[in-house]
Symmetry: none
Subunit: 248 residues, 2 copies
C-alpha cells in the first residue's frame, strides 16, 4: 500500500462521503496515523483536498483551473445541441477561429478528435483542446483574468495575420438591429474574427435572441449563419438580410 494507492482511496472516500477522518483512514488502510497525516498534508499541497483538524474535506474549487464553472450549467443541453450542429459544418483540414464565450467553449468536446487547426483567445478552449488531435494557435496579447481570455490591440493584430475558413463567435444579445456585446473588448475581437474568416457562425441560445444588450457593435450581416435553438419565427428578419439560420 504505497502513497499512490492510498491517495486513490482517500480521494475516493472524500468524494463519496464528503469528509475523511485521520483515525478512520489509519484503521481502514492499516497504516499509522502519522503517515495518513503526511498524506493529507501532501494532498493538500497538491490542492486535492482541504485539510481540517482531524481529517480533510473536498476542495469545492473546480479541479480544472480554466472552466466555465457557473455558466457551463446554464442552458447546457441547448448549447450542446447548437455546438453539435456547428461541429458538423467543420471539415478536416479547416482552420477555425473560436472566441471566448461559454457557448463556443462547448464546441470543444465535439471537435477534439478532428484534424483541424483552432485559433483562439480563450484559455478554457486551449486547455480543453491541448493534447488532442487539434492543432492550436493562441492569440497573443493582454490577458483578462475575468474573461479568461486575451484581448487588446495586439490580439487584434494577431488575428489580422491569419485567415480562417470559419469563425465561431458568441454574443451577449441579438436583435434585428444587430449584435450586442457586454464589453468593447469582446466586440472588437468578434469583429476581427469575422473579418478574417470566410464564413462566420454565430452560436446563440434562445435566451439571447431579441435581447438587445449593453453594446451594439455590428449589423446582423456581419455573420453569415446563426445556429440557435430558438423558434424560427423569432428570427424572420434574418432572411431578409441574407443571414442563414440553422435551428437545432
Amino acid at each position: 500500500m504505497n502513497f499512490q494507492q492510498r491517495k486513490n482511496k482517500i480521494l475516493a472516500q472524500l468524494a463519496s462521503r464528503g469528509e475523511v477522518d485521520t483515525r478512520e483512514l489509519a484503521l481502514a488502510l492499516d497504516i499509522s496515523e502519522i503517515t495518513i497525516r503526511r498524506d493529507l498534508n501532501r494532498l493538500s499541497d497538491e490542492g486535492q483536498l482541504y485539510r481540517t483538524h482531524g481529517g480533510a474535506i473536498p476542495v469545492d474549487q473546480p479541479p480544472l483551473p480554466f472552466q466555465f464553472t457557473h455558466k457551463a450549467t446554464a442552458n447546457q443541453s441547448a448549447k450542446d445541441n447548437i455546438c453539435r450542429k456547428a461541429a458538423a459544418t467543420i471539415n478536416d483540414g479547416d482552420i477555425i477561429f473560436m472566441d471566448c464565450g461559454s457557448t463556443v467553449f462547448r464546441l470543444c468536446q465535439f471537435i477534439k478528435n478532428r484534424k483541424i487547426k483552432v485559433i483562439t483567445n480563450s484559455m478554457p478552449v486551449i486547455q480543453a483542446l491541448q493534447n488532442t488531435t487539434v492543432s492550436l494557435n493562441i492569440i497573443g496579447g493582454e490577458y483578462d483574468a475575468a474573461r479568461q481570455a486575451i484581448h487588446g490591440s495586439m490580439a487584434i493584430e494577431h488575428i489580422a495575420r491569419y485567415q480562417a475558413h470559419k469563425a465561431f463567435i458568441g454574443v451577449d444579445g441579438l436583435s434585428a438591429k444587430g449584435l450586442f456585446a457586454h464589453s468593447e473588448k469582446e466586440a472588437d475581437m468578434a469583429l476581427a474574427l469575422a473579418h478574417h474568416s470566410h464564413t462566420t457562425y454565430l452560436l446563440c441560445d434562445a435566451s439571447k435572441i431579441n435581447k438587445p444588450s449593453y453594446l451594439h457593435f455590428a449589423p446582423l450581416e456581419t455573420v453569415q449563419t446563426i445556429i440557435t435553438d430558438a423558434a424560427p419565427d423569432q428570427l424572420q428578419y434574418c432572411k431578409k438580410k441574407g443571414v442563414k439560420v440553422i435551428t437545432v
Copy 2:
C-alpha cells in the same frame, strides 16, 4: 523472456489489477528486481505507466493541466532558492519576460503579490499568475502541447513588439562555450527575450552547469547575470566575459 514480452505482461497486469509491485513482478516473471525497476522506468519514460515507489500504476487521464508535475520535484529546493534571489531583483512596476522552463516557472510563487507586468509564453506561468496582482501578457503563436508553451515565428514577432526591463530564462546546459537548448524553438525564444529586455537573467541549477547539451545557440555574453546554486569556482570563466554570477 525479453523486454517486449515483459512489457506486455507488465501492462496486462497493470490494466487488470490497476497496479504492479516490483517484488511480485520479479517473482512472477522470474527475473531480478533491478531489471523490473529498469523496465518500469523505461515504460514510465514512454508514458505507458506512472512510476510509484515500489511499483507502478496506470496512467489515467492527462495529469493536472498546465503543471510541471514530474519535473517539479527535481531539484525543487535549489530552484526555489534561485528563484527567491531572482525575485529580489524585481522592482514594482517592472515589465519582465519569463520563458517556459521548469526553473523559471518556480519564480511565480515569489512574484504573485507584486505589482509588475509579466510577458510569457508558458501556460503553467499563466495559470499560476492569473487572478494575482500581476498583469499578464501572453505571447501568441502556435501552441506546443509537449512544452506547454507557445513557440514559432508569430511568437518571436510578438516579443519584438515589446521591450522589458528584465528577462528570466532557463537553459538546458551551460558551459564556457555558451548556452545550450534542447530545441531550436526554445533557443529562438530565449534569444528573442534576451534581445528585447534591458537585463537578462539566466536561472540555472547546478545540474546544468558545464553540461553542454543538444544545441549551442548563444554565447555566454547573451545574458548579463547568472543565478545558480553551483559552486562559484565552476563558473570562473563568466567573470572574464563580464557575466555576473549570483550564488544562492
